[in-house]
């Protein structure tokens, strides 16, 4: 008896996945985004193999060399070098590690924190809910970048602190989503049924209710992933994010600003890298939303 239930539920899951993939595949942009994203992940994972040079090694005879196709470029530095003679291409490749890492950590912290807070608020309701939601309102009243800036100033500039600050600023979105979903689900019959059957609070929250509000959370998570890459680059640009010599793209841009008129490659390339990754993730996010949101599926 229990075996058959197990079987059918995994079959259902498989079918859901197949359906999801069917809708996702229809969005060509999303598939392109996915491909770029996978390439990005591969670049990050295999950065030490792909990069021709160490990203922090300074070649003292090669300050601000242009890319290879421009006059003065050298074949060993395909995309040129920066102000202290580091290979741009290698730094860009290693930069992918930073961006993905930042995205994953920020989303993980914001998601876990937000979901727990949202579950508690939605499940218990009453004054617990009021207090939690007022706190979330307070956080949301500040423009996110400004709040993140002040938080980083409090915690001290650096990559870890920038990630924590961004995660704190993002988590109210997850909390609100979860809370709304939980409140909706709480009235459903299966929750009442589970409760009658003697399910504990924790079990109810995590095993019964949570899986049913995953859709919007996943969409929000992809959105936060791309925003996290952008915001951490912005913090880096303002000197509050990852610190040199880390090859983080935003930090590279900040360092390159003084060469804006003299060495276009140190300014344009990191920005292009940011744009491409964020765009890929957003395209993927669009596909995810279309595939997960049943309302749009119909139209």
């Amino acid at each position: 008896m229990s075996d058959t239930v197990q079987l059918s539920s995994s079959a259902i899951r498989r079918q859901m996945l197949a359906e999801f993939w069917f809708y996702f595949r229809q969005n060509r942009g999303a598939v392109a985004g996915l491909v770029v994203f996978i390439l990005l992940v591969l670049t990050a994972v295999f950065a030490p193999l792909l990069a021709p040079h160490d990203p922090t090694t300074q070649y003292r005879d090669a300050f601000l060399l242009p890319p290879v196709w421009q006059e003065g470029g050298r074949a060993e530095f395909l995309l040129g070098t920066d102000a202290v003679g580091r290979d741009m291409l290698s730094r860009l490749i290693f930069g992918a590690q930073y961006s993905l890492f930042i995205g994953i950590v920020v989303v993980a912290i914001a998601l876990v924190g937000g979901v727990i807070i949202g579950l508690i608020a939605g499940f218990f309701g009453g004054w617990v809910d009021s207090v939690i939601m007022r706190v979330m309102d307070v956080i949301l009243a500040f423009p996110s970048l400004l709040l993140a800036l002040v938080l980083v100033a409090v915690l001290g500039p650096g990559l870890t602190n920038a990630m924590i600050a961004i995660a704190i600023v993002y988590q109210p979105h997850f909390a609100r989503l979860t809370r709304a979903a939980v409140m909706g689900e709480m009235r459903r019959e299966y929750v009442t049924a589970a409760r009658v059957a003697g399910a504990g609070n924790l079990r109810l929250m995590f095993k019964t209710i949570l899986p049913n509000c995953l859709g919007p959370l996943i969409v929000q998570a992809t959105l936060s992933f791309s925003s996290a890459v952008l915001d951490s680059a912005a913090l880096g640009f303002l000197g509050m994010g990852a610190q040199p010599p880390a090859p983080e793209w935003g930090t590279m841009l900040a360092e390159a600003r003084e060469f804006i008129l003299r060495a276009w490659w140190v300014v344009t390339l990191p920005g292009l890298a940011i744009l491409i990754s964020v765009l890929a993730i957003n395209m993927m996010g669009d596909g995810l939303r279309d595939a997960l949101d049943p309302k749009l599926k119909r139209s």
């Binding site: 003292r60 102000a83 202290v84 001290g156 003084e258 008129l261």
Partner: protein, 533 residues
């Protein structure tokens, strides 16, 4: 769209030329907003460039382009035998500016001088705290509260200062912007109108330019003071266009939107030299950038270890990559333009092999250390991060593992002065008045190694400090020079710092600018500038 933009350009170009033709307007792209327009409560050079220099005068002034003293609002002075009484004869017929709220009824006189000093020195003076939270930091840091016993009016044009002790640099102190003379009559008018903050917002002085308007963080406007007691300015209007970003400043200069700018980015010097419409004045700066070891912590308490580390670091590479060549390697703690600079001192050569051998000889292996990189740009150190990265690389070649640490600026200043600090600190100094004592005592004496001082090597060498003390009480400059030269030899032997570089000061300006004189103290003043046709 294309048409529209061309149209706009044509219109603005036209406006520019016609406006220039009518009145001579000089635009200075300044690097930051002034803190305010009363020069006494503030400490930033930017503030003095925007208030103290154009709007005000002092009893004594620095002669243009030098650190010598010449008469200002005081025509002459007498010093008593024991050096504690200074009697100033004031210049007559000097007019204060006027504005829409104030027209002076009398000329500058002794009352203004007494008022200007007493409001800073006397905590009970009604104008001491005319803005809540105001303090007189420069007055305090030059030790004026302990130095000045009294300021008295003898008659309308005679003022007597009585000091608690003889102090030779006093005349130079009162030439500094904090000692600017404000109008007592204006202060009285403001007080009657209940608008005391006008002294800071709508300044009235005797200087070459009259304050017209200030738009926060954007622009300051001045007009020529037609009644100026000295040589009248040659330009009619002076404008400060506040432009914090150095590359933006340069673009504005190239576009003809301003005539002169401070602090170009070293990366841009080449393109400035290549541009025929621009010219570049340069002058060795009165500064030093250094790396201070903690000489109280092993193994950095061993001069040989410090010397070995100094030999491991390639200064030329730092000057190339960080200063873009706009500096000279430093061997002494004072800059070469300063009197008593010891030419004979020989710098430690860059020699990683020898350095490695020296470290091994001293039994130092597997050394790990921190390098502190300051988070801000200073003229003496355009990019401490990059410098630290270069040092890190160099040190790894002699087997020293260096970590770079940094803090927020205020914290950096504080933590780097904490006893037992871990690591070597990148920092520097820009001189206030051109005296070697202003470098050596402030940065390297035993006194300065205490809390609240600035000796970040915590280096206390009795012999060195005694030489400084001796030089301080000696009035003969030749005598002092000898003492300071000797001190520099000791400094080099003991190597409490790696002396990095003395950065060069550059002032890019449009080719048509004439008469600008660079100040060794880093001030920007415009009463002598003109625009050639």
């Amino acid at each position: 769209m294309k048409y529209l933009s061309h149209g706009l350009l044509a219109v603005s170009a036209l406006a520019l030329t016609t406006a220039f033709a009518e009145a001579k307007t000089f635009v200075y792209c300044s690097e930051a907003s002034p803190e305010g327009f009363d020069p006494s409560p503030y400490t930033a050079g930017t503030t003095f460039d925007a208030s103290g220099h154009p709007i005000y005068n002092r009893l004594t002034e620095f002669k243009k382009g030098t650190t010598e003293i010449e008469p200002g609002l005081a025509e002459s002075w007498e010093v008593s035998e024991d050096g504690t009484e200074y009697t100033f004869k004031l210049r007559q017929g000097v007019k204060f500016h006027s504005n829409d709220r104030f027209t002076p009824t009398r000329d500058f006189n002794a009352d203004d001088v007494v008022f200007s000093f007493q409001r800073q020195g006397d905590p009970n003076h009604p104008w001491h705290q005319y803005i809540p939270g105001i303090t007189y930091e420069y007055y305090t840091s030059m030790d004026m509260p302990n130095l000045v016993k009294s300021v008295e009016k003898i008659d309308d044009y005679t003022v007597k200062f009585t000091l608690n002790r003889p102090e030779a640099p006093f005349l130079a102190n009162i030439a500094m912007p904090f000692a600017s003379i404000v109008s007592k009559e204006y202060a009285d008018t403001l007080e009657a109108a209940g608008a005391k903050e006008g002294l800071n917002n709508a300044p009235i002085g005797t200087g070459p330019f009259r304050f017209v308007a200030y738009q926060k963080d954007a622009v300051i406007r001045y007009q020529k003071n037609a009644d100026y007691w000295g040589e009248a300015p040659k330009i009619d209007d002076l404008i400060f266009a506040i432009t914090p970003d150095p590359s933006v400043r340069l673009q504005k200069l190239k576009a003809g939107e301003c005539h002169l700018m401070p602090y170009p980015s070293p990366a841009d010097l080449e393109s400035i030299r290549a541009d025929d419409s621009l010219k570049l004045d340069e002058q060795p700066g009165l500064n030093v950038g250094y790396l201070a070891y903690n000489t109280t912590v092993a193994p950095f308490d061993n001069p040989k270890v410090r010397k070995a580390l100094n030999m491991a670091i390639n200064k030329e590479a730092i000057i190339d990559a960080v200063f873009q060549g706009a500096a000279e390697p430093a061997k002494n703690p004072i800059p070469p333009t300063m009197w008593s600079y010891n030419e004979a001192v020989e710098d430690d050569p860059y020699d990683p092999e020898a350095a490695k051998a020296m470290l091994e000889e001293e039994g130092v292996t597997d050394l790990s250390m921190n390098i502190w990189a300051m988070p801000v740009q200073r003229p003496y150190m355009p990019n401490a991060r990059r410098t630290a990265e270069l040092m890190q690389e160099d040190l790894s070649k002699v087997g020293v593992n260096a970590e770079i640490v940094s803090y927020e600026w205020g914290e950096y200043l504080q933590k780097s002065m904490e006893a037992g600090r871990d690591g070597a600190v990148i920092l520097g100094w820009t001189g206030d008045n051109g005296d070697p004592d202003n470098f050596l005592s402030v940065l390297l004496s035993c006194d300065a190694a205490k809390e609240g001082g600035a000796n970040r090597a915590f280096w206390c060498n009795e012999e060195f400090s005694d030489l400084l003390q001796q030089a301080k009480v000696t009035s003969e400059q030749a005598e002092r020079t000898k003492l300071y030269e000797q001190a520099q030899v000791i400094f080099k032997e003991q190597a409490p710092w790696l002396t990095i570089a003395h950065s060069t000061q550059y002032v890019p300006m449009r080719a048509e600018v004439t008469g600008f004189v660079m100040s060794p103290l880093g001030d920007f003043t415009f009463e002598n500038v003109d625009l050639a046709e």
